[in-house]
Symmetry: C2
Subunit: 193 residues, 2 copies
């Protein structure tokens, strides 16, 4: 399945790309704009990874992509810098109420997070349970240990409640995930490189 989740499938029909469920993505983008404007952090979502097959030029200054394909991402979607440290994370939404299915993460995305952590970066996962309106941050090391030590197909919400951190809903910024990263990596001085 070489295309993003959450797109309504309509067979043989052109559909609008604007209506897919991008609640978490939108909230994170707004949060990142807030962080940048307040000089807190410089973190961006990477553009959708595509292969362009054909481009049309109706005029000298206009270009329209007429054929392109979604590529499997080789990294996570978000990265940037916070307090001098490299930040890297993936964000996912699920309609499930009791667990997050791990087939939402590609193997190379998990390997990517592992590599980032080995190199001294801060890697994590943000999961939103849409129907519960609960958003969790799971630290990369906890995620990788869970995957390597358990042969599970999903992460239960109870595991996230115990070992993850709930991100409280705020007005500004919407999804203040750096508050949690602050507590995990920049308080007490031990983890602060």
């Amino acid at each position: 399945m070489n295309y993003p989740k959450g797109i309504k499938l309509t067979k043989n029909k052109n559909i609008s790309y604007g209506n897919r469920g991008m609640g978490l993505e939108k909230d994170l983008n707004e949060t990142n704009v807030y962080y940048l404007a307040h000089k807190v952090a410089n973190i961006h979502k990477k553009p959708t990874n595509i292969t362009i097959a054909s481009v049309d030029y109706p005029s000298r200054y206009e270009a329209v992509i007429k054929e392109a394909y979604f590529k499997t991402p080789s990294t996570t979607d978000y990265n940037g810098i916070y307090k001098g440290r490299y930040i890297d994370f993936e964000a996912k939404e699920t309609n499930n109420k009791s667990s997050f299915p791990l087939n939402n993460l590609h193997t190379h995305q998990i390997n990517h997070l592992k590599s980032i952590i080995e190199m001294g970066g801060i890697g994590f996962l943000i999961i939103r349970f849409k129907s519960l309106n609960e958003t969790y941050l799971l630290d990369g090391e906890t995620l990788i240990n869970f995957i390597e030590q358990n042969n599970r197909k999903s992460i239960s919400i109870n595991f996230l409640r115990e070992y993850g951190y709930i991100i409280k809903d705020k007005i500004r910024p919407r999804v203040d995930y750096l508050e949690i990263i602050d507590n995990l990596y920049f308080k007490g001085g031990n983890n602060n490189e």
Copy 2:
């Protein structure tokens, strides 16, 4: 001009996207693959920034983008982590022989590099003079000072020869820019945070 440079313009005709002059991009991607395989650094090129207008689904597991537009990039093209530090750079090729035209860089790309440096990251520019087969690295601070202190439309190759660093051609990795970053930021300890 909301599309990448280096694409041959063909009016009202579908052209192949594979033949554009991607020499430096290809070399950098190979270099980054080498760095990752040897656990030196984890640096990637961001996908081309596009807005998708329409997607066609010929079958359940197939998706074809039928209409999309190039967006002006708000960041640089490359970022990642090296020796625990956040790395961020833009890479450009020019057919000119004596100078690099600054209209190749967007204002928000320069502002982005400035923000990255202020936050403790390492930002720079890689410029290749195709006809001379010479590739230079210009540190972000030098670049920003040049732009802010001079009212020039281009950077002369003489300036790059004096204040930049030539990246020597190698077999593996092809464009060893981290050798220069190593000398600039990780030797002597003064600049090493």
